[in-house]
């Protein structure tokens, strides 16, 4: 069934930026241009005053299934994704059991098909059980549908194992994704180390815990020629090193999360467990560096690190509460705030949400080119709304942005030519 999206502003980064109609047929983009004719029986979506964008691609989500279905399922996570305009998400392997083998990968893909909402692409583990010791069956993982490998959250501390993983990954041309954290330096830490951790008496995670691993990974990427993708970088040091590495031609891409360019460690005051994430919220200088990195292209991608946790888990005291916040349903608004602030152009913002992440992982997504999968987000850039976690499609409510008045919201999300999300007036 065909869909004609009429009268919107189409932004397909690097290709189109202006008024155009988009025609979808048989799950693909059939045409993009002025005054397209609606074929017989075609559904027409009026996009006047709206942005018509390639569906967003999130390289970093935790959907918790199998193993932690009380936090999120592939069904609920996919619903949150499409409500936030994300048509493709890459699910981290820290499930239970860990996604370190074909069976778990196939289970996740099966659940995603049943959900029938977003494209959920698994990321396989680097090592068996993400224990950092022996390589997982990376070839099998790749063959069964994993688009990258990572031991996210449990970074590979042994540099030799990391070197071998990178070398091995070269054969399959898949990116190796690392959560850069030296676990010795970070031991026991639960927020950024500095004046505020000193005042609060909380064990800190120094910026150096991230920086030393970024440096190691860049060196190993240079040694092995592997494609390296750095998850959620949060420090000025990381930005500086990635900028330098890119200038020297190292195959590295980097992502930043909305919370790391929106919030500083100050919001931890009061022992706010909703401000507890890893990497931790950093200083104002780090936030500035992340913004500058996004602006100048050092940071390619905006990813959410969507990390659902149950209410009772975040009700524990600060040191006990788990790291992480949900992000799929707030990412667009927080990214558009950077456009209002003048950090990014609108086209750059769309690039970082959709096109660049697809390129980083080599996915045929993130574009509205004729023939591409019809994954589309239709966005009202002006709509003002207040973040109300009780209305989230995600199973979890752990966001520090509750009550924030933000701008820009998804109206319609289309995946594979099918409308999978439509904002109802009640949700607006």
């Amino acid at each position: 069934m065909a869909i004609l999206i009429k009268g919107g502003q189409v932004i397909d980064p690097g290709r189109v930026n202006g008024a155009a109609d988009v025609l979808i047929d048989q799950g693909k983009i059939a045409a993009v241009g002025a005054n397209l004719k609606a074929p017989a029986g075609c559904t027409i979506i009026d996009a006047k005053g709206l942005l018509v964008l390639p569906g967003f691609v999130d390289l970093h989500v935790h959907f918790r299934e199998p193993g932690f279905e009380y936090k999120e399922t592939i069904q609920s996570g996919s619903a949150a994704a499409v409500a936030g305009g994300f048509t493709t998400v890459c699910a981290m392997p820290n499930t239970k059991p860990v996604n370190d083998n074909q069976a778990v990968t196939e289970f996740m893909l099966d659940r995603a098909r049943t959900a029938g909402l977003a494209n959920v692409l698994p990321i396989g583990a680097i090592t068996k059980g993400s224990e950092g010791k022996e390589l997982a069956e990376i070839g099998d993982l790749h063959r069964s549908g994993c688009v990258a490998i990572s031991d996210d959250g449990k970074p590979v501390m042994n540099s030799l194992v990391m070197r071998r993983a990178m070398e091995y990954a070269v054969a399959f041309d898949i990116p190796v994704v690392d959560h850069c954290e030296d676990l010795h330096l970070a031991e026991g830490g639960c927020m950024n180390e500095g004046l505020i951790s000193t005042e609060l008496g909380l064990p800190g995670i120094p910026a150096a815990a991230e920086d030393v691993m970024v440096a190691r990974n860049l060196s190993l990427s240079e040694l092995t020629g592997a494609r390296l993708h750095l998850a959620h970088i949060s420090t000025a040091g990381s930005v500086r090193m990635v900028r330098e590495a890119k200038a020297r031609g190292i195959k590295v891409t980097a992502e930043a999360c909305p919370h790391h360019f929106t919030l500083t460690e100050d919001v931890v005051r009061g022992y706010n467990t909703l401000a507890k994430m890893n990497p931790p919220l950093r200083t104002g200088e780090d936030v500035q560096a992340i913004k500058e990195g996004l602006r100048d292209g050092t940071i390619d991608v905006i990813a959410t690190d969507h990390a659902p946790h149950a209410t009772q888990e975040k009700q524990q005291d600060f040191t006990e509460a788990p790291f992480g916040i949900v992000g799929l349903e707030t990412a667009l608004s927080l990214t558009l705030a950077l456009v209002d602030e003048g950090v990014l152009t609108l086209e750059q913002a769309v690039d970082k949400l959709a096109t660049a992440p697809a390129i980083a992982f080599g996915l045929k997504k993130g574009t509205l080119a004729v023939g591409a999968d019809a994954d589309v987000a239709i966005v009202d850039p002006q709509e003002q709304w207040q973040v109300d976690p009780s209305k989230f499609k995600s199973k979890s409510r752990n966001t520090p942005f509750a009550g924030w008045k933000v701008k820009g919201r998804v109206r319609t999300t289309i995946v594979g030519g099918r409308v999978v999300f439509e904002a109802t007036p009640a949700e607006r």
């Binding site: 000193t198 005042e199 008496g201």
Partner: protein, 306 residues
Amino acid sequence: MSLKHKNLLSLAPLSVEDIQLILETADSFKEVSGREIKKVPALRGRTVVNLFFEPSTRTRTSFELAAKRLSADVINFSPSSSSVVKGETLLDTARNIEAMQADIIVLRHSSAGAAETLARGVKSSVINAGDGWHEHPTQALLDLYTIRERGMAFKGLRVAIVGDVAHSRVARSNILALTKLGAEVRVVGPPTMIPLGIEKMGVRVFHHLDEGLRDVQVIMMLRLQLERQGRALFPTIREYARLYGLTAERVKMADPKAIVMHPGPINRGVEIAPEVADSLSSVILDQVANGVAVRMGVLYLMSGAN
């Protein structure tokens, strides 16, 4: 006058006047502890719960005595006899206690922020009796009381806090209180024990004990957690004692009338030499005695019984 705070979680929100009020209230209760019958009816019919998630003998005993001398009903609740092992959250435990009509909850917990988390969830007054590395407000108040009892004025008072400042709730509370009262506070210890950014709390940092002690009027020693040796904070207890142990010789660097304080329990021969701990300049046992009076004052003011 009365204290306009429902809880005592930190010294940060207290004004100079609040601190003075607590110290003056403690004055009147110190006298009670000297009587033959050490009891006043000020908190009769009130319930004080000592909720101690971390082992502590002296602080718990001190709070218990303080509450009993005020005629409050006191219940001691500690994790070994509680349902905490069954996975109940701190807040649920506290709400259960509150449902039994506790007026004041005195909390000791190994996590920084536990008292603040608790206070947000219950209607009872909460007194922080030590939360992780964060604060131990009544310890600082009894330290202030002891200094004041020696006739020292806080304004311009030179105080050295020596030892593992990074992991010390006693140090944080004292830094907040003393700087607020106009004292000149130094922290002394190896860089591994001095937390990042501490100078922004208004203190000067010294890494050599002799320099740090020069002309100070108050030497506040911190207890060395011996088990931290394995965590690369210091090489050996022997070397720590040599570099940062307070000996009679080193006390001479300080003002001739300087007093020596320690929150206890002391490691004799490690952070403090026995002859210093037992010397005339040591006020360590005065601190313990004053602890009861200060806690009586705090309980009294918190109960709103004035």
